[in-house]
Each structure stands twice: as structure tokens, then as C-alpha cells.
């Protein structure tokens, strides 16, 4: 029986690869682990399938949650709190559609996304939260396996001693979305997109650009250590973080 299923999935993967082109990857599966109350009985998995260079499908298959209850789930970037992605407290990068468990406490949720939005440290883990209280997180799936090693590769775009960093503003995103800089660094946001954006922050109200049009830039020098989220106030989900470390 198991041999039948195995050869079936190989065939399915082959079909997927041949139809989507050389860039397509097989389905990756990440198990959810329970946080907090180990006896809650919640479980599930995240599967991610890349269909093309600009298209992926993430599917959450969840069981053992509270029945007939609204939940939300998000991809999170790797945070600074820990090398274990699920304990790293990173910012939300992309949300799954809000969902409601059935009477048996199960749910299947699908999200189509550009793989660039959740690649590497941007999609370090997926949290499932109760909608009524976002601090209740019954399940988390680590996507990044070696959080610390990968963070070292992708968040330091320049050595910590460099005092100038650049962030690209696109339509509608900031790149890199997670950046680490030493205190005293001047970050320059450069508009490489087509529509008006801005750079604002609730965490650091001093970050306040004018409306930025294609080709325009805005700079801010970070002096205080901490992790700060900034955003464009015109576009949903267009936010990013900068972690400022002591020199």
C-alpha cells in the first residue's frame, strides 16, 4: 500500500515539475508544534508548493483546535529574540485568509503568494492565533530550519561596521524586509517602483518621509538599539523591520 502511494507522489511531483518548468520545486511539508498547553491536542501541517517563479500555494491542514472558532494565521519573518524561529518574535510578513474551524475543530486554509514574499527569513515560521485574542498561539510551524545561520546570511546585507544601508521601495514592498544595522547607521529608502509610497513608523515617530515618487529617496539615521517596524500608509501589508544593534 505504501509503495503505491510513494510512486504516486513521485509521479505527481514529476508532473508538477514538467508542467511548471524547471524552476518549480516539490511540495515541502512543515509540521505544526503546540505552544503553551501541550495537552490541547492541536496539530497540523503546512505544505508549500512553488508553482512558478512568481506563484506558490501554502496550505494549512489543522486539527484539534476549538470547534467553530475563528482563527487567523500568518507567515512571520525571523525575529531577533531567538534562533528558534517559533520563539523569535518576528513581524508578520503575510496573512492567510481568516478562517473558522468546523464543528470537529478542523480547518484547511489556502494561501496563494509570490514566493519572494515568504522566501528565506521572510517566511521563517507560521503562527496560528485565536482571532479573539492574538496572544493565544496554539500552533507554530518552523519553516526555517537553522534560524541563526540563515539569519546571519540574509539579514546582514553589509558588515555591521558599515554605516550606510539601502532599502528598496517597490510596489508594494520594502526590500530587504528584515534588516539589521549598527546604531549610528543611516538607512536610505530608494523608490524603485511606480506608485506613490511613504515611510512611516508608530514605533519610531521620527521616521516620517514625505510622499515618495519613483526615483525619490528618504534617509534616517538610527541611534537607539531595538527592533522597529515601519510601513507605507497607502498599501496593505507593506511593512518591514529594522533591528538596531549596539556598535
Amino acid at each position: 500500500m505504501s509503495r503505491f502511494f510513494r510512486s504516486n507522489s513521485v509521479l505527481a511531483s514529476a508532473l508538477l515539475l514538467s508542467s511548471a518548468g524547471a524552476a518549480a520545486m516539490p511540495t515541502l511539508t512543515f509540521p505544526f508544534k503546540t505552544l503553551g498547553t501541550p495537552t490541547s491536542g492541536a496539530s497540523g501541517q503546512l505544505t508549500v508548493r512553488t508553482l512558478s517563479p512568481t506563484s506558490s500555494v501554502s496550505v494549512l491542514t489543522l486539527r484539534g483546535l476549538m470547534p467553530s472558532t475563528p482563527y487567523v494565521a500568518h507567515y512571520h519573518a525571523l525575529g531577533a529574540a531567538s534562533s528558534d524561529p517559533c520563539a523569535s518574535n518576528g513581524p508578520i510578513t503575510l496573512g492567510f485568509p481568516a478562517f473558522r474551524t468546523n464543528a470537529q475543530g478542523q480547518a484547511t486554509v489556502l494561501l496563494r503568494a509570490d514566493p519572494a514574499r515568504i522566501s528565506g527569513t521572510l517566511g521563517a515560521y507560521v503562527n496560528v492565533h485565536t482571532a479573539a485574542n492574538l496572544t493565544v498561539v496554539p500552533l507554530c510551524a518552523s519553516v526555517l530550519k537553522t534560524g541563526k545561520a540563515q539569519a546571519a546570511q540574509s539579514t546582514t546585507t553589509a558588515a555591521p561596521t558599515a554605516l550606510q544601508q539601502t532599502v528598496k521601495i517597490g510596489d508594494n514592498f520594502f526590500k530587504p524586509a528584515v534588516l539589521s544595522v549598527a546604531a549610528g547607521t543611516t538607512v536610505t529608502w530608494t523608490h524603485t517602483g511606480k506608485v506613490t509610497h511613504n515611510v512611516l513608523s508608530v514605533d519610531l515617530p521620527g521616521i516620517r518621509s514625505a510622499d515618495l515618487h519613483p526615483g525619490e529617496s528618504y534617509s534616517y539615521t538610527f541611534k537607539t538599539p531595538g527592533t522597529f517596524t515601519y510601513y507605507c500608509s497607502y498599501h496593505e501589508g507593506m511593512s518591514a523591520t529594522i533591528t538596531v544593534t549596539n556598535r
Binding site: 472558532t69 475563528p70 487567523v72 481568516a98 473558522r100 482571532a131 479573539a132 485574542n133 492574538l134 506608485v195 506613490t196 511613504n198 512611516l200 513608523s201 508608530v202 515617530p205 516620517r208 510622499d211 510601513y231 507605507c232 500608509s233 497607502y234 498599501h235 496593505e236 501589508g237 507593506m238 511593512s239
Partner: protein, 148 residues
């Protein structure tokens, strides 16, 4: 009209709806024109109703430019003001589907979302923007009058 209550012409309404879980009745927020020249006659309202942890919000707008594309969002309270949500420049917390004004300059659009995404300071105001240039914001409806 349609069996919903307009709560005290928008002054007490936003105060009551700081925590939208309290009332099962639909609540109406009124759009006011921002200090700019875009679509000078634009106006309308937003009606929000809660059911099972989800909020359904319908915008009914008039005075828009006929045939023009618009976008609308719920915004969180931003850093630039703690008493005037429409001037606070907060991040988008929930977007409406893109929509277009009809030949009479009217438009209606609805979005359904988790209450958690827009309750309290997370859903402090509603903006309607030009889709072609989101920095142009003809109208704004305050939802929560003060931060915190």
C-alpha cells in the same frame, strides 16, 4: 431606511465602537472631506455589522469622479496624532476590494474581516484613496476618536 441605527451622527458612534464586540447592531460612520481639492462633493458612510467574530463593512459613497478607480482601507491609529485619527497617518490594517465609481459618481463596496484585525486602535479610521495615486485621499471616516 434599512433597519439599522445611525448612532448620534457620528460623534458618539465612534466612542461607542472603540470595542466593537459590545453591540450586535450595525453601526454607521460618516465620511468627512479631508482638507484637499480632490472630489469636492465626495461623501458617504460606512456601515459595520458584527457576526460571530467577523465584521462586515459596507461603504456607500457619492460625489466621486465617474469611472475612476478607488481603493479604501481601515487604518490603525498612526503616530501623527492621538486625537484626530484621520490625520494620524497609521498603517493599513484591512483593505477593501478595489472599486470604481459609476457614471453618477456613486460606489458601494464591502469587506468582511476578523474583528481582531480592526478592533480598538487597529481600526481607527477609514480612508478612500485614488487608486492611481494613493496619496490623494478625498474622504476619511473616523472610527475611534482617541488613541489608547
Amino acid at each position: 431606511m434599512m433597519g439599522h441605527k445611525i448612532v448620534l451622527l457620528g460623534i458618539a458612534g465612534p466612542l461607542l465602537l472603540g470595542s466593537c464586540a459590545l453591540f450586535g447592531l450595525p453601526t454607521t460612520y460618516l465620511f468627512k472631506h479631508n482638507p484637499n481639492q480632490a472630489d469636492p462633493s465626495a461623501g458617504g458612510n460606512a456601515v459595520a455589522s458584527v457576526s460571530g467574530g467577523m465584521v462586515s463593512t459596507t461603504l456607500s459613497l457619492s460625489g466621486l469622479t465617474p469611472g475612476k478607480a478607488y481603493i479604501a482601507h481601515y487604518h490603525a491609529f498612526g503616530p501623527d496624532s492621538s486625537t484626530n485619527p484621520c490625520a494620524s497617518n497609521g498603517p493599513v490594517t484591512q483593505g477593501f476590494p478595489n472599486f470604481m465609481a459609476d457614471a453618477s459618481g456613486n460606489a458601494s463596496v464591502t469587506v468582511k474581516t476578523d474583528m481582531a484585525k480592526i478592533e480598538g486602535d487597529n481600526g481607527a479610521y477609514l480612508n478612500v484613496h485614488y487608486a492611481s495615486d494613493p496619496s490623494v485621499v478625498p474622504i476619511c471616516a473616523p472610527v475611534k476618536l482617541a488613541k489608547g
